[in-house]
Amino acid sequence: MRHIIAVQLQNEAGALTRLAGLFASRGYNIESLSVAATNDPTLSRLTLVTTGDESAITQLLAQIQKLIDVVMVTDLTDGQHIERELLIIRLKVSPNGLESLQQLTQEHGARVLAQEPDNFVIELTQSEADVNLFIAAVSRYGVIREVVRSGALALATTGMADG
């Protein structure tokens, strides 16, 4: 089962390496990982997507909590949460596809950042599943040149539980 896990990590030398290393050395896959600063300059917030059965995820959470610079770990999967991913995609579009593509973009609430047929760039913020659907949809109107995704970001709707 897919799990989305939020981690608050102290900004220390090697902290991210240790967390990533834990996944590698204990045989877990990271499907996506996003890391960025928070309002607290000493902390980073990570959002991880991984898969595993219940006991594997329980074990993973326990192992993450053993890392000294981990401040908090929360498995957001079960609770209500908001999940978003940023997509930026560049396409080559034939002139007769332009209009349909612009319409599709509007329907999905995406934004067009550049609209030359050779360099058609769209930005979309949606759930991972919707991003996947959108990529499939746009591919009908143009040739995908480049895809960049942030990986999932997530927030519990009721505030982060103590981990």
Binding site: E12, G14, Q59, D69, M72
Partner: protein
């Protein structure tokens, strides 16, 4: 606490003094009560070595002798031996690059066996990091995956707090190794000594506090005893956590009050006096046959600071198959249900947990008659006792250990290498208390024994410390033979020489049709006795006649000062019992001299693909 006077008196005498980074490191070590430093100097750590020299010459505080090994791996294992034997944090100080990488093995070894050490590595100057400078190695990246924690000090104002915090992390919770990487310019920086302060590690401290204050509630105790009251054959399975948690006394009181037999893991040896009638000794791959049968027969298993390691529960589903309840008491939440699902568990410090359990048993007058089970265990112990070919003309290793044990009387500190001799020592020595048995359990590092014995001797200068080693294991850190005489330590070194890697040969004979690939050393030229003599041993003998064993061992054990004894043992001697990899206790091979419960001795060879 808040009195101005008490604040004043708590102020560090050197607070406010301007010190170099190196002096700050040494002052924190002194404040932490460090008694001895194991390490090897080199370019990037020179300032700190100089500061240790000056401290030992000038300071009114106790000096911290520097013990220099032949190789930094030796220093790491000396620190580990010191820590294992004393329960205090061992300290190892090495230079950058190769100095640091040579300590990777002891650091991983300490993590795997939960041993608290602090390793301070010199690093190339901050500005040179990442330039492939001379003797540079990416220590945080390398150590990050093998240490409990790693610090790279880039801000010298945080150096003091970092060193102090490293000790805190090493000794708290599930203990482990902490590495501090200190660039040379940080050692040469000058700034005021604070005399207090630690780094913020809010997540770690909060989780630790949760575990530390997690006392066993009366309701949980009641639930435990209500489960236990229906048991007819309860058994305690105690691991290294009972020793790391300083819970040996409480374990003993608990087991004796309730009259529950005790098996221990390799790491738990000494947590419960092996000479006590309730002791069923060690379980596992090379555990006592009677211990393993007791595990098979028990209907209630109480797990104390142990983790169902693959050498204990090779096949988790068939481990303790008759136990209706497994109750797991642990300090590390990640060990619960990691290998084996348990019906009852409690996370908390083992010592307090056992005290609470005992208190509840006493106040609730808990009492069950388990005399039939006691009789069964006594019978298992006598029928399936350890045994060997006592009439053999060759020197049997078990005999040698029995003879040494007559002098050691369960009170010596025994360190070992890894392999057959390690298992024989675990099986045939008595251990009356904790921290007497120093062995590389999880990592299984050959070469561990000699440096660990040296470290232990520094922790306990007046105790008898014996390194039981193998000819192959001791070769791994043979340079440390000289370290013993350099510091004139009364360490007793025993090499049970079976001309090769005995355990490897045993597996090759059992599972690889006897093809002794790269494990036979009978053509090797090493003369261990002459090597020991060359290193200045006042006692260095080779024992190759069975009749001489008692007299030579007596002489060896009575010798004051560094002593070396090589014993030419039966090269075919095996370690029995043996639970083959991937097999259950029921299928245990007991050899020719230990009585098995299995009537047919057909051994299904394990699947080689699953073997390790």
């Amino acid at each position: 606490m808040n009195h101005p006077e008490s604040l004043e008196s708590a102020k560090h005498p050197r607070a406010g003094q301007v010190l170099s980074g190196a002096e700050i490191i040494v002052q924190v070590l002194a404040d932490e009560g460090v008694e001895v430093i194991f390490g090897y100097s080199g370019g990037a750590i020179l300032p700190t070595y100089d500061a240790i020299f000056v401290h030992n010459r000038d300071s009114a505080q106790p000096s911290m002798p520097l013990v220099v090994p032949a190789n930094e791996q030796g220093a790491g294992f000396m620190a580990a031996g010191y820590a294992r034997a004393s329960g205090k944090v061992g300290v190892c100080v090495v230079t950058s690059g190769p100095g640091a990488t040579n300590t990777v093995t002891p650091v991983r070894d300490c993590l795997a066996d939960s041993v608290p050490i602090v390793v301070i590595c010199g690093q190339v100057p901050t500005a040179a990091i990442g330039t492939d400078a001379f003797q540079e190695a990416p220590v945080t990246a390398i150590m990050g995956s093998v240490a409990k924690h790693v610090f790279l000090v880039t801000d010298p104002t945080l150096l003091e707090a970092t060193v102090r915090t490293a000790f805190e992390i090493a000794r708290t919770g599930r203990p482990g190794p902490v590495v501090i990487d200190v660039p040379k310019d940080v050692q040469n920086w000058k700034g005021p000594y604070q005399g207090q302060g630690a780094l913020p590690i809010p997540g770690y401290r909060r989780r630790l506090a949760l575990v530390d204050k997690s006392t066993l509630s009366d309701a949980s105790a009641a639930e435990f005893y209500s489960l236990l009251s229906t048991a007819q054959r309860p058994l305690i399975y105690a691991g290294g956590g009972a020793i790391n948690g300083e819970a040996s006394v409480e374990l003993t009181h608990f087991a004796q009050h309730l009259r529950i037999p005790v098996v221990t893991t390799l790491m738990g040896i000494g947590a419960f006096d092996t000479t006590e009638p309730l002791s069923m000794r060690m379980l596992g791959m090379h555990g006592a046959a009677f211990a393993n049968y007791a595990v098979d027969d028990c209907d209630f298993l109480i797990v104390l600071g142990a983790r169902f390691d693959d050498r204990v529960a090779g096949v988790p589903a068939r481990f303790a198959p008759n136990a209706r309840v497994i109750a797991h008491f642990e300090v590390d939440v990640s060990e619960i249900n990691k290998v084996k699902k348990v019906g009852f568990h409690h996370i908390g410090p083992l010592r307090q947990t056992l005290s609470a359990l005992l208190h509840y048993a006493k106040t609730s007058n808990f009492s069950v008659d388990w005399s039939a089970w006691h009789a069964h265990c006594a019978q298992l112990r006598s029928v399936h006792a350890f045994n060997y070919d006592r009439d053999s003309e060759l020197i049997q290793p078990y005999y040698v250990i029995e003879e040494i044990n007559k002098h050691a009387k369960g009170e010596a500190i025994i360190a070992t290498g890894v392999g057959q001799h390690q298992m024989w020592a675990a099986q045939y020595f008595d251990f009356k208390g904790p921290r007497q048995w120093l062995t590389s359990g999880s990592m299984g590092t050959m070469g561990f024994g000699l440096p660990a014995a040296i470290g232990a001797q520094f922790a306990h200068p007046s105790r008898v410390v014996i390194d039981i080693d193998g000819d192959a294991s001791i070769r791994m850190n043979l340079g440390e033979l000289e370290t013993v005489t350099t510091y004139d330590l009364p360490v007793k070194v025993v090499v049970l020489n079976n001309c090769g890697d005995g355990m490897v040969k045993q597996w090759q004979k059992l599972f690889f049709k006897g093809r002794l690939s790269a494990s036979d050393k009978s053509l090797h030229k090493k003369d261990f006795v002459r090597a020991a003599l060359a290193d200045g041993y006042g006692f260095a003998k080779r024992l190759d006649k069975k009749a001489d064993v008692p007299a030579v061992i007596k002489e060896f054990m009575e010798f004051k000062g560094p002593a070396f004894l090589e014993v030419m043992i039966d090269t075919d001697a095996g370690v029995y019992p043996m639970v083959g990899p991937g097999q259950s206790y029921e299928e245990m091979i007991t050899g020719d001299h230990i009585v098995s419960r299995k009537t047919d001795h057909d051994v299904t060879p394990p699947d080689t693909a699953e073997m390790f």
